[in-house]
Structures are given as structure tokens and as C-alpha cells.
Subunit: 118 residues, 4 copies
């Protein structure tokens, strides 16, 4: 994936959360989509994408839902919707200056106190 | 948070995506919650959490929505819901063996072809 | 519920769809909530309420989900969320001049052609 | 609306809530879809349809959202999604024996006490 003479750092580090967040920001800027990306709109879009993920499972039994990746077309669709959910979550976080990893780490800390193991 | 003589690696690396995914898995196993975590249920829970995020914004103007982090209580709530969304997304991905970073990277690649910059 | 000397027609006809739609409109006007009720906001609020309904079921098996009305507190919660969903659906329809009964009747007509019984 | 020599009862009563609920039930029975229609699945489907409605508005300004019915194709889409939301709400209510009109009437009564006009 590395391109000689290109931007090796950018190329090699894009596949972490911060790198993907940068790619999404560049993508939106290049298409002048920033004006649509209010926190309110991004939160709505996030909900729309999670519904598209839930739609895959809506008529399945619990057992069938565990086997969705066996079918190649459905597996593609699952990955595609996961990508959309993560994309809007990262763009939402960027718009409001929220670090999603810190937020989750803090939440797990709180939940460990709230739901102690007995 | 670091514990002398403990598991320094585990402690120091928990705050990345894979580390958080491990903490969430340990948390669910310790409370015997795994039986609830079918892909179908996790997809539904993900949708419920995104709706709780959208609820914060539902009556706000676009301008007001950009200022939600100015209020400390609302900022806490935003971070808390972001954490819940990311938590269920990671647990969903773990249940089905989906790598969310790869999924998003592939999706951005596809979108760059689908929406060329003119 | 009938009030002697009151507005018998209004009192007796409120419990149909058009009557409830009027009560919702009066309620919002009296509280000056109309300015929040853009179609966009009402559609978001509708989604939030359906998520609150889905939340009741998110960890239940299909069998458990069929028995939710056996528990009085859960039954109350189900009815309460159904009311919220219907309330926002009716307010959304009023905002855009959509007749929900006509819309559904037309859709069933279309679906009967789209999914013929074999 | 009545048709001489036809099925006058069926024809005249189908376009109210109870009539539509019966048509939806007949439709599902004729296609053997009843086994999919657990309350849990219907609640999820309801959420998916409200998200499809929200999707129409996700990138619109509040002002643009008030004008969606000016475009014929968008107006059709709005009515189509309203129909889907109402269809799943009615089927959900039928599955659990909930009367949506009573539920909403009771809720408005409660809200009038909870949010008194000052």
C-alpha cells in the first residue's frame, strides 16, 4: 500500500482511528460537504445507518443472526453498514471535539463501579 | 492507573480500539451477559444508543447543536452516549468477526471512486 | 368523561385519529412548542420514541417478547411508548399535510400487487 | 365509497384504523408472515421505517424540511414511509393487544397534568 515518493507516513498510518478520521475529514472538505455536517445532522445520519444495520437482522431468529457472515453478500452488507456507522460516529466526534476512545474508557470505568461483579 | 508488578502492557494499551474491545468482552463475561449478546440484540442496542444521542439534539437548531459542549452536563451526556454507541459497535463487531477499521478503510476507498472530486 | 353543558361533540369524538390530532395540536399551541415542530425535528423525535419502544425488547428472546404485557409495569411502558410514537407520527403528518390512513391504504394496495399470494 | 352489490362493509370500513389493521393481518396471514411478526421483530421493523423517514430529512435545513412535499417524488417517499411506520405500529399493537388510540388519549391526559399551561 506504501507509495514510493508519496506520503509514506500518511499512507501507513491511515488505518487507525485517527487516520480514518483524517481521511473522512479530507473527503468531506474535498466535496464541500462540511456545511451539511452539523452535530445534529451527523447524529441523525448515525441513527439512519444503525437502522440499516438492524434491518439485516429484523426478521431473523437469534440463531440465524449468528450466521449472517456465512453468506458472502450479507457479510459484505454487514461490513458496509459497520463502516457507515463508524464513519458518522467519527465525524460526529470530530465536529464536537470528543475523543471516542477516552469516552469509552471512562464509561467502562464507571460501569465497573456501577455493576460490580459479585 | 498503572500497577507496579501488575500487567503493565495490558494497563497501558487498553485505551486503543482492540484494548477497549477486550475490556468490554471481559466485562460481559464476568457478568454472564454473553448469552444476551446475539448479533441481532447488539444491533438493536446500538440503534437504541444512537437514538439517545439524537435525542440530545432533537429540538435544537443547527446553531444550537454546534454549542452543546458549552454546557457541562450536556457535554457529559454526549460523551456518555458516544461511549455507549462505540461499545455496542465494538461488541457487535467482535460477535461477527468484523474488523471495524478495515471495514471503514475499504468503504472510504469505495466512496472515493463513487464520489469523484470534480 | 362526558361533561354536562360542556362541549359534548368535542368530548365524545376526541378518541379517534382526527380528534387526537386536534388535541395534540392544541397542546403544542398552548405551550408555544410549535416552533420546535419542524418536520425534520418531528421525524427525529419519532425515531427516538421507536427506539425507546425497541429498548424494552432488546435483550429478550422472541418468546419473552410475546409476554411483555403480563408484567403490569412493562405493559404500562409499552402503551406509553406506543402513545409517543403515534403522537409524533400524527404531528409529523399534520405538519406536512399527509393523511396517514390514506397513505397506508394506498401502500397496502401497492403491496398486494407487489407481493401476490401464490 | 360504498359499492352496490359489492362488499359494502369491507369497502366502507377499511380506511379507518381498525379496518387497516384487519387488512394488514389478512395480508400477513395470506403470505404466512405471521411467524416473523414477534413483538420484538415488529418493534425493530418500526424503528427501521422511522429511520427511513428521518433519512429524507437528514441533510436538510429546518426551512428545507418544511418544503419536502413540493417535490412530487419526495412527497411520494414521505407518504410511503409514513405508511410503513403506521403499518408496523398497528401490527405491533395487534400482536400485544394494545389499543393505540386509547394509549395516546391516556398519554395526552397525563401530559396535560405534567405540563400545565401557565
Amino acid at each position: 500500500m506504501s507509495v514510493a515518493g508519496g506520503r509514506p507516513d500518511a499512507v501507513t498510518d491511515t488505518n487507525d482511528l485517527a487516520g480514518l478520521q483524517r481521511r473522512l475529514a479530507d473527503f468531506a472538505v474535498a466535496r464541500d460537504w462540511g456545511r451539511f455536517h452539523t452535530p445534529k445532522n451527523l447524529a441523525t445520519a448515525l441513527g439512519v445507518e444503525t437502522a440499516e444495520l438492524a434491518e439485516i437482522f429484523q426478521w431473523l431468529t437469534p440463531e440465524e443472526s449468528a450466521r449472517v457472515m456465512d453468506d458472502e453478500a450479507t457479510a459484505f452488507r454487514v461490513r458496509d453498514e459497520v463502516a457507515d456507522v463508524l464513519a458518522y460516529l467519527l465525524q460526529f466526534c470530530a465536529a464536537l471535539g470528543v475523543d471516542p476512545l477516552d469516552a469509552l474508557s471512562d464509561k467502562i470505568d464507571r460501569n465497573e463501579k456501577r455493576f460490580p461483579v459479585t
